[in-house]
Amino acid sequence: MAGSGTAHLRNTVDAVLTARDLTVEFRISKDKIVKAVSGLSFDVIKGETLAIVGESGCGKTTLARAVLQLPPPNSGEVVFDGTDLTQLPKENLRSARTSMQMIFQDPISSLDPRMTVHQLIDEPLEIWDRGTRAERDERINTLLNNVGLEPELVLNRRSYEFSGGQCQRISIARALALDPRMLICDEPVSALDVSIQAQILNLLQDMKDRFGLTMIFISHDLAVVKAVSNRVMVMYLGKICEVAAPEVLYAKPAHHYTKALLNSVPIADPTRQRATELLQGEPPSPMNPPSGCRFRTRCAAASALCADQEPQLREVTPGQFVACHHPVA
């Protein structure tokens, strides 16, 4: 997983977002630096959903936030719609952000408990001065209807009166208020029950189709990702392991880490043989990542080469890119 390299970038004019060589580091004391994201590149094409998958602490959320410049990356460039966000003055960045919105993992705590649903959804419209009072109210009603909430019933209530699934619907309505081009969803269904999870996943899919959104979808659950994505990027300790279309990645994972992730997904069928080779241990500290390939300390196929040389992303089958010296046969 070392996976530096840019072989997987498609360099097309359709790319809504291209991030090159992003590095995000946090200094936590004089000589301790957390290397959250290291030299990572990716692109997202118009209308596509890119899923970013990995364990807790692999840098998925940091990466998504770096795209939004929250905080800006230490180095690298983020080109959104032809503009490098890292170079934009603050005021221009603020207006650029209206076209990229984020949905967070914890639907209840990401909404201000003192604001009514009306205020929550009105806030972005008011800040950006979108229309008159009457036009904005009209817009709020449409947004709530779109996400499957009854405006009369919810407008004057506050977030604590709703369940997790309903709060997530409100967050989605708020994120869509300014007609964004891109939606970044950070584990949007991890805190929800399976039955509600399916409702929200379908809703996101509908919104994407209806408004032609481009999405980045972050999750640790490969099964969830399969349902919604067009391209999957597997991350480990701030680096890319593998990038491919879901059909390819799930059928023939090339990276040992991808394979291990697939083996950990519980299967709702007691007659199916469970995978016996589970990934053991936990990822090493991002303060002191292993040399060469960062996954080598937990990889059964690791050799001396893996410690010496960082593998570069390369295409193993058309459209499938892997950063591994000894890919899964």
Partner: protein, 325 residues
């Protein structure tokens, strides 16, 4: 087959400002010795309340309980709080959903782990600490000596859940309640923790009640499954039987709403529309009827009783799947 825990006709009501909330309604369940029983349902279906009541942990003045709970020959419902407490540790133990908040943040792992050993088994401090270290090794914590001296915040979620398991099994309990033990964890860590629980159950001949909302977790880790909805058991069967031959439309809908790894990508998931009914006002008919694809008039009017197939498969439905209408 003898049952280790037997719950009969348990109902739990909470007095709330909005009226009486029926959290658990007439639940009967047996946990056979040495077996693992899964309890599955959505948030708010009464799984956790049922388990806590079965352990005698619900004692507040706003709680109305009825029914009996017999554990290993002791009738818990007739015992005082102190008497029930004597069964914790060596009789029953529990691991909780959130490993972040279940541990005391200001005490070291070693002291939290040895507490039960000293209290329950009367060990000396030195013996208890030595045994604690062995327990940490048993739950596969690397570098156990260092972890003994750590505080919870210094450990990852998976490590904390391992510590919780070590505390729970410290006094060799006969029955382990695991309440959503992996819901807060990553899939990779979840797989590790479930594997650990399977191995420990085998080695220690321990029974387990595994509470979860995920039928995928239940599939490989239980012998029997009880599906709960709106405070009632709506289906109960041996795990392999349940997955092979679901009778209750709710169980089927729950299974279909899970995103599966062999689904084609981009396909829509089957969802259960709507939400659980209001727990202060359950209505007359089948609780699931408003969300059920197959509901007929009768379902909205009459409450179905649990039916028993000749092979012991229980379900609460007027028009079960696979039956000619």
């Amino acid at each position: 087959m003898s049952s280790l825990l037997s719950v009969k006709d348990m109902s739990i009501n909470f007095d709330t400002p909005r009226g009486s909330l029926e959290a658990v309604r007439g639940v009967d369940i047996e946990i056979p010795a040495g077996m693992s029983v899964g309890i599955v349902g959505e948030s708010g279906s009464g799984k956790t309340v049922m388990c806590r009541a079965a352990m005698g942990l619900l004692q507040g003045s706003n709680v109305k309980r009825s029914g009996t709970v017999v554990f290993d020959g002791h009738e818990l419902t007739a015992m005082t709080k102190e008497q029930v407490r004597d069964l914790f540790g060596s009789g029953m133990a529990m691991i909780f959903q959130d490993p972040m908040t279940a541990l005391n943040p200001v005490r070291r792992i070693g002291s939290q782990l040895s507490e039960g050993l000293r209290l329950r088994l009367g060990m000396s401090k030195a013996d208890a600490l030595a045994r604690s270290k062995e327990l940490l090794e048993l739950v596969r914590i690397p570098n156990a000596a260092a972890v003994m001296k750590s505080f919870p915040y210094q450990l990852s979620g998976g490590m904390r859940q391992r510590v919780m398991i070590a505390i729970a099994i410290a006094c060799n309990p006969k029955l382990l309640f695991a309440d959503e033990p992996t819901t807060a964890l990553d899939v990779t860590v979840q797989a590790q923790i479930l594997q650990l629980l399977r191995e420990l159950r085998e080695d220690l001949k321990m029974s387990m009640v595994l509470v979860t909302h995920d039928l995928g977790v239940v599939a490989g880790n239980t012998d029997y499954v009880a599906v709960m909805y709106a405070g009632e058991i709506v289906e109960y069967a041996p795990t392999t039987k349940l997955f092979a031959d679901m009778r209750m439309p709710y169980t089927k809908a729950l299974l279909e709403s899970i995103p599966k790894i062999d689904h084609k990508s981009g396909t829509r998931l089957d969802v259960i529309e709507g939400r659980l009914p209001n727990p202060t006002d359950r209505g007359a008919g089948c609780s699931f009827a408003p969300r059920c694809k197959f509901a007929k008039e009768k379902c909205h009017e009459e409450h179905p009783e649990l039916k028993r197939d000749p092979d012991g498969h229980l379900y609460r439905c007027w028009f079960p799947i696979g039956e000619a209408l």
